[in-house]
């Protein structure tokens, strides 16, 4: 049973939360056309590691706000909780973010507005 430290409400039982799956899946913008296979990777394909994983959670029975989490999917250790819209700050969290196959994919590159791509 997880004890989750909601950034807004404090430590609460797992039963008060819902899990939103893999975090940091950025939607490709319409202005940046990509192939069906690349779009399918955004829509359906998932990182599913046995180990550290970046996920989204929502405190559905409490403040109902979303936040991100780095959690080990084998030991269930919660390594870091960080705000929605930001990236992990811990060393292990940064590693978990970087180890995700989605980094550097065409679909992820296509999620940035034209002017920013390639930087």
């Amino acid at each position: 049973m997880l004890l989750i430290d909601c950034p807004y409400c404090g430590p609460r039982d797992e039963a008060e939360f819902a899990c939103g799956g893999e975090a940091h899946i950025a939607r490709p913008l319409a202005e940046n056309p990509i192939s069906d296979a690349e779009f399918g990777s955004y829509l359906f394909l998932r990182h599913n590691p046995k180990g550290l994983f970046t996920e989204r959670w929502v405190h559905s029975a409490g403040c109902r706000r979303w936040f991100n989490m780095v959690r080990d999917t084998l030991s269930h250790e919660i390594v870091e909780i960080y705000p929605m819209g930001s990236l992990p700050k811990s060393r292990r969290g940064k590693q978990a973010y970087a180890d995700n196959w989605r980094r550097g994919t065409p679909a992820e590159a296509a999620s940035k507005p034209q002017a920013k791509r390639g930087r």
Partner: protein, 432 residues
């Protein structure tokens, strides 16, 4: 239609193993049971094989068996990181049925059902297949209408499905509570009479013994740590016992499919979740069918030992821990006690979890990959056990011909690019 689509292979054992029979039992009993043969060899890996199957569960062992018995491909190894059948095959609630909505699903689950119906004879192993019926309950007007639609679709595919009202359900299941004032009242249900259960461990052991009998090497306690390629061609697997060469590799590792896929740079749409189950203390027979309930997220049957076997939906976050957390069984048991008040004093004896590979459309993946000679069979989620013979049979066909047959074709990985998903979220009657 390829002839191997209907070919169930060699009936009974063909190799060195001594057949099981009532005569063998009597002979061995008179010798104090010291004459029984080991059911399979504990093989050490050869340097290479024609086909390596990664994953020694029901699906993997069935694949190896059908490669040998249908296609004559016997230079095969099954590589299992733990003990055979110790993964999801040993952790499910043993339910078997083929009453799914879509035509593509009807094809594969009914193919499995027809293989189940002769499997003990095919394998010369009593898998305790019991067609005691599977009844799915509707708890609202909406569920009644949805159920009616499903039943018609199922029957149009030639598969048995009958609608029952509350009184008929009460006659069929005496311990059920059909009071219409409870939170989730029983408003009706649909029954597949040919559905039922089988002894999960026996399925693994039966396939293992029959495959070994035909020359398949079963290598346990051997973990695959890498998939070796030369260009776009698979050449073998790195394991804890060294490199083993192979012309073809089939991955059948359920909850660990993404771990294997990552080794080949392959991406899957799978999320690995815990699926929990529990058994009660053994009691006298009180339930002679299988009950599933959508709304209350529960399924229940009674084993031949007398234990009530209960299961529910998946836990809501990814895990490889082979355990889930308490709210899931708690909600399931609350609903179970309301539907079957006689359970309220029962003590639960054992509780465990598996790692299920859930897919976005709750349908499996049976597919070639971008790497020549590498095939994946995964994504069965919470509904893999019932498909065991069909999955193995069809995957063996895919590997043998390097092309999917009519049954496997819709389940290619490519559907997540084309959008031709086969949405069976409603099928299990519980949340995926």
């Amino acid at each position: 239609m390829a002839s191997s689509e209907l070919d169930r292979g060699i009936k009974g054992l063909a190799g060195r193993a001594k057949r099981y029979s009532v005569f063998a039992l009597a002979r061995n009993a008179s010798r104090y049971h010291q004459g029984w043969q080991q059911a399979w060899r504990h093989a050490e890996p050869k340097k290479s094989y024609d086909v390596i199957i990664i994953g020694g569960g029901g699906h993997g062992l069935a694949t190896a068996y059908y490669l040998a018995s249908v296609h004559g491909i016997t230079n095969v190894a099954v590589i299992e990181k733990g003990w055979l059948g110790g993964g999801n095959t040993g952790r499910n609630t043993t339910i078997i049925r083929s009453n799914y909505l879509w035509d593509e699903s009807a094809a594969i689950y009914e193919h499995a059902m027809q293989l189940w119906e002769g499997l003990s004879q095919d394998l010369n192993f009593n898998i305790m297949f019991s067609q005691r019926g599977v009844l799915t309950i509707a708890h609202s007007e909406h569920e009644l209408k949805e159920m009616s639609r499903r039943v018609h679709a199922i029957r149009l595919n030639g598969i048995d499905s009958d609608i029952l009202g509350p009184d008929e359900i009460k006659k069929f299941v005496p311990i059920i509570n059909i009071d219409q004032t409870i939170r989730y009242p029983v408003m009706g249900g649909f029954l597949q009479k040919r559905g039922g259960t089988a002894r999960h461990d026996a399925v693994a052991w039966g396939y293992a013994r029959a495959a070994d009998d035909l020359g398949v090497d079963i290598i346990q306690n051997c973990e695959v740590t890498g998939l070796r390629r030369r260009g776009r061609q698979i050449v073998g697997v790195e394991t804890s016992k060294g490199f083993i060469g192979a012309k073809k590799v089939g991955c059948v590792t359920a909850g660990h499919s993404s771990v294997l896929a990552d080794m080949a740079g392959l991406r899957l749409p799978i999320a690995s979740r815990p699926l929990q189950a529990l058994v009660s203390e053994p009691i006298k027979p009180i339930l002679d069918t299988v009950i599933m309930s959508n709304a209350v997220h529960m399924y229940i049957s009674q084993s031949d030992k007398g234990e009530m076997v209960l299961g529910a939906g998946v836990d809501k976050y990814n895990s490889y821990a082979q355990r889930g957390s308490w709210p899931v069984p708690e909600h399931m048991l609350a609903a179970a006690v309301e539907l079957f008040p006689v359970l309220s004093r029962l003590r639960m004896l054992r509780h465990w979890g598996g790692i299920v590979d859930t897919c976005p459309d709750a349908s499996p993946i049976l597919s070639k990959t971008d790497i020549e000679g590498l095939y994946f069979n995964c994504g069965w989620g919470t509904g893999g056990f019932k498909a065991t013979p069909g999955s193995g049979h069809v995957f063996a066909d895919l590997i043998a011909h390097d092309a999917p047959n009519r049954i496997a074709a819709p389940y290619a990985l490519k559907r997540f690019e084309t959008g031709f998903l086969i949405d069976e979220h409603g099928a299990a009657g519980v949340a995926h």
